[in-house]
Symmetry: C2
Subunit: 193 residues, 2 copies
Amino acid sequence: MDAFILDNIALHIDIDKDEANLFLSLLEHKSLKSKESLLQQGNVCRSINFVVKGCLRMYTSDENGKEHIVMFAPENWWCTDLFSFHTSSLSTHSIEALENTVVAQLTHQNLEKLYIKVPKFERFFRVLFQNGFIMYQNRISSELALPTDQKYKIFKKLYPGLNKRIAQKHIAAYLGITPVFLSMLRKKYNDIN
Amino acid sequence: MDAFILDNIALHIDIDKDEANLFLSLLEHKSLKSKESLLQQGNVCRSINFVVKGCLRMYTSDENGKEHIVMFAPENWWCTDLFSFHTSSLSTHSIEALENTVVAQLTHQNLEKLYIKVPKFERFFRVLFQNGFIMYQNRISSELALPTDQKYKIFKKLYPGLNKRIAQKHIAAYLGITPVFLSMLRKKYNDIN
DNA sequence: CGCGACGTTGATTTGCCTCAACGATTGTGG
DNA sequence: CCACAATCGTTGAGGCAAATCAACGTCGCG
């Protein structure tokens, strides 16, 4: 289980055995059943979450109670409401499991400890946030410039296979359309995958 | 002029005089006239840009030639196509001055030098990208969940005063609506600011 | 096996777009 | 510094993409 997250770290920095053990000691593992909540809109987000197994969705509910998905986090993804996490303000997002899911969690306190004891992790999270920044920059770009069917294609490329794992209504909530309209699109383009 | 960017650095890390001088020596300054281009879609983005004075817009053109603005960068903002910058791939964004503008530029090479010589800058850019990540996360969230008039309000809060400095058509291109429709909105809500 | 959630399909509505014409503002050269 | 051109903003008419509403078929879980 720990191997997954150490591999993820190794993508961006090299750490030795002691550093790895320190890092692992700062993690807390948590198992969630499908549909179980990890964070509720209006609470403070207390952890950065790494998905070991399963899949999360992060979403906001609008004034009509409709849900809009900001990101999915299948295996090897990180997921948090970073603003709430960093400022201890009330979260505008909820995070929930779409399948039975196992996450490794890093609290704010433990992250600060980590930065101090192993400054290399500044670099790791610099690269992580940088990649997240790039992902969102591209998402906004395509959100504004592309028609819905192309956004759907990008979704499938960004989250390979997720298409078949999760409910259509969640894909619709990610794309910013209704399940009804996604159904029509899929029919129109004879989409099977 | 250097004071602006040093103040910006000081928001997140403390550096001494030598480090400041090293940092400044790695910067290149550039002046742009209004409407002049800093990056063209299809070229490689070679620098991270800090706006000392004036205002930039970063945008993509879609297949019909319509422009969609991903972000504005008035004074004290940083602006780059981070994906192109980091991977030396062709940029999907253009960057252009909306006013006569002065930027301080950091090339990829110089940034890497900086990380090596003053590792504290890992932290600075970690926090910078973190804030950018948060900004985009919130933008996507409101893009999906909020009606247009509320997105307009958020724009005004995020970029105080920019409303009066730039053309309406650029605000429309940021909000993802047509100038015609923004005009109707402003009338409907008796919007002056 | 039965119930509830999900997906599909069709009819109707709506938010925003396009097109076009007209006023306002900006900026540039004489 | 004014005049005129070019760009920008406004307003109205008509159109389209996607939403809503509703009814029905289907799937998965207890």
